[in-house]
């Protein structure tokens, strides 16, 4: 009889949990957002450490001395090539960033947020260090280094927000445009890409009548297609085409596989464009 009351309260709580499984998520979203913010002081440094460890290249342990000698020689050559490529890529990015900043609408304010926590369970969602108090709203696009489309804000609490990456199946179909090699707008082709869950996006592209021999090539850039994007070359980049497969059923179409230029799982800093009016309303901190 002594344990009747504690047991009853426990079973009541368990029954409440069972009912909560089927309730709309308004209150739990609010509560979960606050709890997530509470864990950020500890999870943020752990996340930073995790991302730093992931960035360390995995070294191969080979015992054959001849292999080691050749590998070292190869490594030296690779390093030289990588340095040159990295320098070229860096200059290219700077140029793109400058072009983008030049074209940026002054009514938007670029801000950077840190990745501070991962969502539990089977999802690619992650949390960033800015929330509604900084003007972040659901539906905003998130970028990496200002030009790589990273994802979309899918939930917001006062001091943190959840981002769904473009490579997550949950992101859904993305309107995109394959930019022609010469940047000619007329020769660029619209398509719809679908994330497949392995870090790439796949979609079908129609052959362009102007260039029937090879309308779409590996290495071409694919950008996010949005009516707000005024100039094609300054739009956020989805990635590069890494595979083109002709469709058996329809010879006028090919299936392309697009991979973002950065591994989005390793990105630690996220850029957002906050409308200035929203930022001033929200009490920026």
């Amino acid at each position: 009889m002594n344990h009747a009351s504690p047991n009853r309260s426990f079973y009541t709580a368990a029954a409440a949990m069972l009912i909560a499984c089927f309730l709309p998520a308004g209150f739990t979203n609010w509560l979960g957002g606050r709890l997530g913010e509470l864990t950020i002081p500890l999870s943020a440094p752990l996340e930073k450490l995790s991302l730093a460890v992931r960035a360390v290249p995995k070294s191969l342990d080979r015992e054959n001395p001849e292999f080691v000698k050749l590998a070292n020689k190869n490594k030296e050559q690779e390093v030289r090539i990588y340095n040159l490529e990295a320098r070229a890529a860096s200059l290219q990015r700077k140029l793109e960033r400058l072009q983008e900043l030049k074209e940026t609408d002054p009514s938007f304010r670029p801000v950077s947020a840190y990745r501070v926590a991962e969502s539990l369970g089977k999802s690619d969602l992650f949390k960033i260090s800015l929330g509604s108090l900084s003007g972040v709203r659901v539906g905003m696009l998130a970028y990496h280094q200002g030009y790589q489309l990273l994802g979309r804000v899918s939930a917001v609490s006062p001091r943190s927000a959840t981002v769904t990456p473009i490579t997550s199946r949950a992101f859904g179909p993305i309107s995109a445009m394959v930019v022609s090699s010469d940047g000619n707008l007329a020769a660029s082709t619209k398509c719809t890409l679908e994330p497949v869950g392995d870090g790439t996006l796949v979609g079908d592209v129609g052959r362009n009548s102007q260039d029937e021999a090879s309308p779409v090539r590996v290495g071409q850039r694919v950008v996010y297609y949005d009516t707000d994007v005024r100039q094609l070359n300054t739009g956020p980049i989805i990635g590069m085409i890494e595979k083109v497969v002709p469709k058996d059923q329809n010879p006028l179409w090919v299936t392309i596989t697009v991979r973002p230029e950065e591994n989005l799982a390793d990105v630690s800093v996220v850029d957002l464009k906050i409308p200035r009016a929203v930022a001033s309303d929200g009490g920026d901190h």
Binding site: A44, L120, G121
Partner: protein, 192 residues
Amino acid sequence: MRWTVFAFFAYVFLALDTGLRPMLQIGESGYAPSFALILMVWIASMGPTHAVRWAALVLGLLVDLLAQYSTVDGRATIVAGPYALGFVLGAALTIQLRSLVYRKHPLITGLLTAVAGACAFVPAIFLLTMRRVVYAGLDSEHVIIWAASDQLVHAFWTVLYSAVIAVPAGWMLNRVSGLFGFQSHPRLGLPR
């Protein structure tokens, strides 16, 4: 059981869950251990029955509140309850099994994590699947994007990985078990 110590460890283990995932996940698969599950199993193997049930419910609820699911309208949502109930069932199984094993051996923590983890995750996946079915039937825009088969595969690897991590984690928790203030039965050495 000292609830302040439990709250501190729950906070640390949940932060480990949300913070260390990029480092501990296997490749790009997303399979990562659940530290909250390990803590639940360890407490269930050591603590008094009534406190264990509440601890499992609270831990499961905290896991629920930190897990987000994408919905068909492009938002992320939180569902309270599935893991809370799953963890309670997992704890109940651990309570039944703990008298059959030498609980302070770290390998036992790993073994119990594997068994109790399966018992905790399967009901949680079932409840989330039911929620999806109900909301899809109502044609709601809050239907979560969810494939039960994918989730079961994910849960299998998560439980297996957690069981491996539970061995060192169990050893560490055994070192600090005095902080929790568990009282043993005077004759049997079992929790009250």
